[in-house]
């Protein structure tokens, strides 16, 4: 059982306004094993990015972790000092973001940016760091890696920049790679290149990947397990096969049915009614109840727990309450 590389326990992340505190991540728990790819799925505002930023200790503004533990290799990251976190970050845990241009420094050459972390964290000499950087650039498919080292980010295309980000993230042999919408800004043929690269990297280094995405196609292709989030809560957690074949939460089901099929024609798309609520207006009971086709009276004023319905398959919905039939539609 102590296989877990990362274990999040009851994580709660809060933003403090002048008047009130807004909870964007509310009591989230999940764990990741070594070499596993876990997809964190949800629509905008569900808290998936805030979860990853909490793990990295990179919460913006007034955001802070109000409660919970983030156990990484047996250490609680929430208890670490800023210096300790920054040692782990970019070393054992690396992150790639959606828009590589905003995370690369536009006035520094690729080579300087790639070697900076190696010299800082790994105490490599400049020469060693450069050799390592070139090796990793080769790995992500740059034939002329030595030239790329001397170029600036604006000289590269979007797909190349994202490959540089992956090379940079992988340069310290991290155990955990957090990828926040890594291919969302990329064209589909470039996305295919980057996804294949991430699979190769994972196979070669046994890196665990926490993949944050809203694209269910990407999930199906990359993930071993899936955590579905809605309005700051985990609503379903299961293996990738269970999510696509035995999805149980009405929200997960709705999401899957909303996606147009590339391989077959449908007459009309299924749509979930209403809108994604903002953190200020999260409903009291089940947060999905106002949009749910299967909602019962009980759902509107009681919040469901996560109920276990199979091997590592949990669902936050009263329909799966262990005492079935406790709540009726009337």
């Amino acid at each position: 059982m102590s296989q877990a590389l990362l274990q999040i326990e009851n994580l709660k992340t809060v933003f403090q306004n002048t008047k009130s505190a807004i909870t964007v991540v509310d009591d989230i728990s999940f764990s990741m094993n070594k070499g596993e790819t876990l997809a964190l799925v949800g629509e905008s505002g569900c808290g998936k990015s805030m979860t990853s930023l909490s793990i990295m200790g990179l919460l913006p503004g007034t955001g802070k972790i109000a409660q919970g533990k983030i156990m990484f290799e047996g250490n609680d990251l929430t208890k670490k000092s800023v210096e300790d976190i920054s040692k782990i970050r970019g070393n054992k845990i690396a992150m790639i973001f959606q828009e590589p241009m905003t995370s690369l420094n536009p006035v520094l050459k690729i080579g300087d940016q790639m070697t900076e972390g190696l010299i800082l964290h790994h105490k490599l000499s400049k020469k060693e760091a450069e050799a390592r950087a070139i090796e990793r650039l080769n790995l992500v498919g740059f034939a002329r890696a030595a030239d790329i080292m001397n170029e600036y980010p604006h000289q590269l295309s979007g797909g190349m920049r994202q490959r540089v980000m992956i090379a940079m993230a992988m340069s310290t042999d991290p155990q955990l790679l957090i990828a926040d919408e890594p291919t969302t800004a990329l064209d589909v043929t470039i996305q295919a290149q980057v996804l294949e690269l991430m699979r190769d990297v994972k196979a070669e280094f046994e890196t665990s990947i926490l993949l944050i995405t809203h694209d269910l196609g990407v999930v199906a292709e990359m993930a071993d397990r899936v955590v579905v989030m809605y309005a700051g809560k985990v609503v379903e957690e299961a293996s990738v096969f269970d999510v696509f074949e035995k999805s149980s939460h009405p929200y997960t089901e709705g999401l899957l049915k909303s996606v147009p099929n590339l391989e077959a024609d449908q007459t009309r798309l299924y749509s979930i009614r209403g809108n994604v609520p903002t953190p200020e207006e999260f409903p009291i009971g089940c947060r999905f109840a106002p949009r749910c086709d299967k909602a019962m009276d009980h759902c509107f004023d009681h919040a469901p727990d996560l109920y276990r319905i199979g091997d590592r398959h949990q669902v936050r919905c009263f329909l799966y309450h262990p005492e079935k039939g406790t709540f009726s539609h009337e």
Partner: protein, 322 residues
């Protein structure tokens, strides 16, 4: 021919590249390069391609939001590219546009009612009272709460804002709407609401759409026929069923195989294209796709392929089919 609402013939849009001491023209970005297609009454023509392929520029040039460099845009037989002043304004009543970003395309200082009424004012339609009735009627049609007419765009969610954008386009009862990535900025669950709405409106008003998008699944769902663009040129046009089951152009084949499918058990043969899309300011000689094409041969490097008819309504620009 008579049932072609819109006929685009060899449409081109070049942007000059200026350089040197006196900012002289040193070249052209061929954003749209001799693109031809047609749209029938009441049908949806999907236009797909990756970023920089010229699909948005094509859409904007159709409506003369950008001046075409060359070519013809025949709408009901009238060449829009030659129209001026009042005649152009009148013709534009029948062609409207919906933009990708409902956050950026709506004036934040106008209320929803004002936004939807604006096109009616510009075209001097009806009395004030009639216009207000019409606004309420359209709000109802697109599923906006009529009581929210006095609210401002920022008070609405993304999906609701896109409904406002659609309502504006609908106000003048157009025959054709050019929708440029209308659902790309929306969440999956909201995206399907807007797609369904667009289909309902099409059925109700007999609208034709030019639906520009990069999401091939959405385009498959909504389109009757689909055109695939690459680097400013049309690579393939076909009825959607045919395009998605029997893609002819190697680029279309690669594009379709690259789309991740939400089915974890599916293991597909994937064509991974090498490299990136070249710059349209300096497109490759011959077929623009040849440097990345797995099936390219000598002729592709020197001769640009023309559109060839494969039978039915299937056209492809590729030497393999000559």
């Amino acid at each position: 021919m008579s049932n072609h609402l819109l006929e685009v013939k060899k449409l081109s849009k070049y942007f000059p590249i200026k350089g040197g001491l006196f900012k002289r023209k040193v070249g052209d970005v061929k954003a749209v390069d001799q693109v031809s297609f047609y749209v029938k009454k009441g049908e949806t023509f999907g236009l797909v391609g990756e970023s920089g392929c010229g699909k948005s520029t094509t859409g904007r040039t159709l409506l003369r939001l950008m001046e075409p460099t060359d070519g013809q845009v025949l709408f009901n037989g009238i060449d829009l590219t030659t129209l001026k002043g009042e005649a152009l304004r009148k013709a534009r009543r029948d062609l409207q546009m919906v933009f990708q970003d409902p956050y950026a395309s709506l004036n934040p200082q106008m209320t929803v009612e004002q936004l939807i009424e604006e096109p009616l004012n510009i075209h001097n339609i009806g009395e004030k009272k009639d216009r207000q009735d019409r606004v309420l009627q359209i709000m109802d049609t697109v599923g906006l709460n009529k009581n929210f007419g006095g609210r401002y765009p920022h008070e609405f969610s993304g999906g609701q804002r896109q409904r406002i954008g659609i309502a504006r386009a609908l106000a003048l009862q157009p025959k054709l709407i050019v929708a440029d990535e209308p659902v790309s900025a929306l969440d999956v669950s909201i995206q399907s609401q807007v797609v369904n709405l667009m289909e309902d409106l099409q059925r109700e008003f007999g609208l034709a759409y030019v639906f520009i998008a990069h999401d091939l699944s959405v385009v498959r769902h909504i389109s009757d026929r689909v055109g695939v663009m690459y680097l400013g040129r049309m690579a393939e046009i076909a009825p959607k069923e045919e395009l998605y089951t029997k893609p002819a152009h190697p680029y279309t084949q690669a594009l379709l195989s690259a789309v991740p499918i939400p089915n974890p058990r599916l293991k597909r043969e994937r064509i991974i294209l090498k490299g990136d899309v070249p710059s349209p300011s300096n497109p490759p000689q011959g077929c623009a796709f040849h440097p990345r094409c797995p099936k390219a041969f000598d002729r592709c490097k020197v001769e640009r392929p023309e559109m060839m008819h494969l039978g039915g309504e299937h056209y492809v620009a590729c030497h393999l089919y000559d």
